[in-house]
């Protein structure tokens, strides 16, 4: 029982990261049907911007700033990366919105390469150690060890996700996003500024990814320029699992994938974990491309 619970919790922690990143994929996909390969790299950029700002704030690794300072760094980083996400959309994707699907996919790949290698040139290829780390104490429930940091990570990501859900359900911008997802032309005719809403979508996606990036830096302690690639793939898997285009689905998919991987590692061994994840992805795409919560109809290109 204790092992079972412990693995469940291990899975929840990694699942929280998957969920946060999966949200960005699913939002962009829901609105302009673009698979934004570069999304995982925005997570990486978030981790690096946070690293730089935190290093400035905390000086030489000492934790002499209060929670307020760190909170500010979080917000500033997320806004900076959010703007970067908008910039990427403006420069690389908008000119191609009407072009064949293949062109925009290849562009997304190009953006991903560009972000990774700019980061490598700017921050270097070696692993960076985050200037702050979390307190290490925790507690035990029925034999499972859970640290406060883990609880914090899950709570923080849950808050961000609930915030997003509320934003989309309750605000006029959220309404516009949902409208564009349904019918771009009609929304435009109804007076929705489509380009502006698409830009906003990219902002929010990048904003959340940056949050996940900086959380990952604080929680795990190291970052490097390739960190976005594999987690981006996994988050995409999570988005598909939950039903791409579906916000709740992305959150659910992230947690489900995290938990499946944790049990997979335990029972099958670490070597096969990635095969399991990609295998699930392929099976879902083939047999239930709409995912767990996806809409019923599906289109073909």
């Amino acid at each position: 029982m204790d092992i079972f619970l412990q693995i469940l919790f291990d899975g929840l922690v990694i699942g929280a990261f998957y969920s946060l990143i999966a949200l960005g994929y699913t939002m962009v996909y829901g609105i302009i049907k673009l698979l934004n390969f570069a999304h995982g790299d925005l997570y990486m950029i978030g981790a690096f911007v946070g690293f730089t700002l935190l290093s400035l704030v905390t000086g030489d690794g000492g934790l002499n700033t209060g929670l307020l300072g760190i909170g500010m760094v979080f917000i500033i980083t997320m806004v900076i990366v959010g703007l970067l996400g908008m910039g990427v959309e403006r420069l690389a994707y908008r000119p191609l919105l009407l072009a064949p699907r293949l062109s925009i996919l290849i562009t997304a790949l190009g953006v991903s390469l560009t972000l990774e290698n700019s980061s490598m040139l700017g921050w270097g290829a070696s692993y960076k150690v985050y200037p702050i780390s979390l307190p290490k104490n925790g507690f035990e429930i029925v034999g499972a060890q859970i640290s406060y940091a883990q609880i914090g990570m899950i709570v923080l990501s849950a808050l961000l996700m609930i915030g997003l859900r509320l934003f989309i359900d309750k605000t006029i911008y959220g309404k516009a996003m949902r409208a564009i997802a349904l019918d771009q032309t009609a929304s435009s005719l109804m007076g929705v500024n489509v380009y502006r809403i698409i830009a906003l979508t990219f902002f929010i996606g990048a904003f959340l990814a940056a949050g996940a990036g900086i959380m990952s830096g604080v929680y795990y302690g190291t970052i490097n320029f390739m960190m976005g690639f594999i987690i981006g793939l996994k988050a995409f898997t999570a988005a598909v699992l939950g039903g791409i285009g579906n916000i709740t689905g992305a959150m659910l998919g992230g947690f489900v994938l995290g938990i499946v991987e944790a049990y997979g590692t335990f029972y099958l061994g670490g070597s096969w974990k990635d095969v399991l994840a990609f295998g699930i992805l392929i099976l879902f795409l083939v047999f239930k491309p709409t995912g767990i919560l996806g809409a019923k109809e599906m289109e073909r290109m």
Binding site: V129, S147, G221, T222, M226, M227, E261, G270, D274
Partner: protein, 388 residues
């Protein structure tokens, strides 16, 4: 007739493409010519260096190159060898097999007398084949997969202790400490997998039991569920054979999950970064099997001092070995009394009791070391100390 269609119609308007094509071909010729000029002239002996200068392993590659440059400068300051100056020709293998063969061929085309270097076993394996074909002796300073000597190349010399010896050192240490139930983890790189396999054999030969044999993906950060698994198996010792970035995270998560037993890593993780990543508190008592760095070698104080003053940083894990590789080559050149490759290979083969920093070099039948120099280091107060 078919061939005519291959390239298709040449459109005049697009003939600028041909210009690009011609430029490419011309650049081939030009480079071909410029390389001619680089060939070693009478007063110099050129030595090829094959190391990862770019990419993820560039840090160690740069350290090794620094040490080699130091050795060359010293030899040249003392008047060179055979009355000639040494010059280094550096080729980047980026730890990638395909890039490595191109780099090796580049060195061959520059007609180097011998080659030093070799960091990643995965890249050194195909590169050594190129040098074997060209009959150019190569002294491998760091790469130490057991598969390198298994190729049976007569021009390939290895001066780092081999993976089986290192695995044995680790297994023996566990045995000494009464640790019988051992978990082994690798990161799916050629070197780490090789070492994990040998560690398994060594542990079992010592009468121990391998209770888990696992792999991780070094690009990931969360080893939580793996640590949960380890904990449930209750190991006496855990041996991670991969590289430092994953090792640091693993040490941290190992301690956070309070997995019981000793934690040991291989020389791919012999780096202060492991301690930095894991944090001083969690890294304490971490064990490392490695060839000690120059810092721990008696008689290497001068080397450490020179290195620090020249490059403003401590020597890396393979700096001493790289330094030795150049000096061994110089020694062999002067014994061969010629830059002839056959004579040089013979001289290398006949090396007897060459004293480098921290090691005495003598080759066995497979051109690797007769005796290994692996020790167990332990982290105490955030610093490596010699344990055994």
């Amino acid at each position: 007739m078919l061939l005519i269609k291959i390239v298709g119609g040449i459109n005049l308007k697009k003939s600028f493409m041909f210009i690009i094509g011609f430029m490419l071909i011309c650049s081939l010729f030009l480079s071909g010519c410029s390389d001619e000029g680089e060939k070693s002239s009478g007063s110099e002996i050129s030595i090829g260096v094959i190391l990862p200068i770019s990419g993820n392993n560039a840090t160690d590659g740069q350290d090794m190159l620094n040490a080699m440059k130091m050795a060359v400068d010293k030899v040249n300051a003392d008047g060179g060898v055979l009355g000639k100056k040494l010059i280094l020709k550096v080729a980047d293998d980026a730890c990638d097999p395909q890039t490595a063969t191109t780099a090796a061929n580049k060195l061959v085309s520059q007609e180097v007398t011998a080659v030093v270097g070799g960091y990643c076993s995965g890249a050194t394996l195909p590169a050594s084949g190129v040098f074997e074909n060209a009959k150019i002796p190569i002294i491998v300073a760091a790469a130490n997969s057991s598969e390198l000597p298994a190729q049976g190349y007569e021009n390939l010399f290895l001066i780092n202790g081999l993976v089986p010896d290192q695995a044995q050192t680790g297994a023996d240490y566990f045995n000494e400490k009464g640790a019988k139930k051992i978990a082994i983890i690798h990161d799916n790189s050629a070197y780490a997998k090789d070492m994990a396999d040998f560690a398994k054999k060594a542990v079992e030969a010592n009468g121990g039991e391998v209770i888990a044999f696992e792999a991780i993906n070094p690009e990931e950060k969360d080893f939580g569920s793996l640590m949960t698994k380890l904990k449930s198996l209750n190991p006496d010792g855990t041996y991670f054979t991969g590289y430092y970035a994953a090792a640091g995270l693993m040490v941290k998560q190992f301690k956070e999950k309070s997995v019981p037993g000793l934690f040991m890593v291989g020389d791919g993780s012999y780096s202060p970064d492991v301690i930095k990543i894991a944090g001083t508190e969690y890294a304490s008592d971490l064990l490392v099997t490695a060839t000690p760095t120059a810092n721990f070698i008696p008689g290497a104080e001068d080397f450490v001092k020179d290195y620090k003053s020249k490059y403003d940083t401590d020597p890396g894990p393979f700096s001493a070995l790289s330094y030795n590789s150049v000096n061994l080559l110089v020694d062999a050149l002067s014994r061969a009394n010629s830059t002839d490759k056959d004579a040089l290979r013979k001289a290398l083969k006949e090396t007897k009791g060459f004293k480098g920093i921290g090691q005495e070099i003598e080759f066995n039948d497979t051109n690797s070391l007769n005796s290994s120099n692996f020790h167990v280091m332990k982290v105490v107060d955030g610093d490596f100390t010699l344990e055994k």
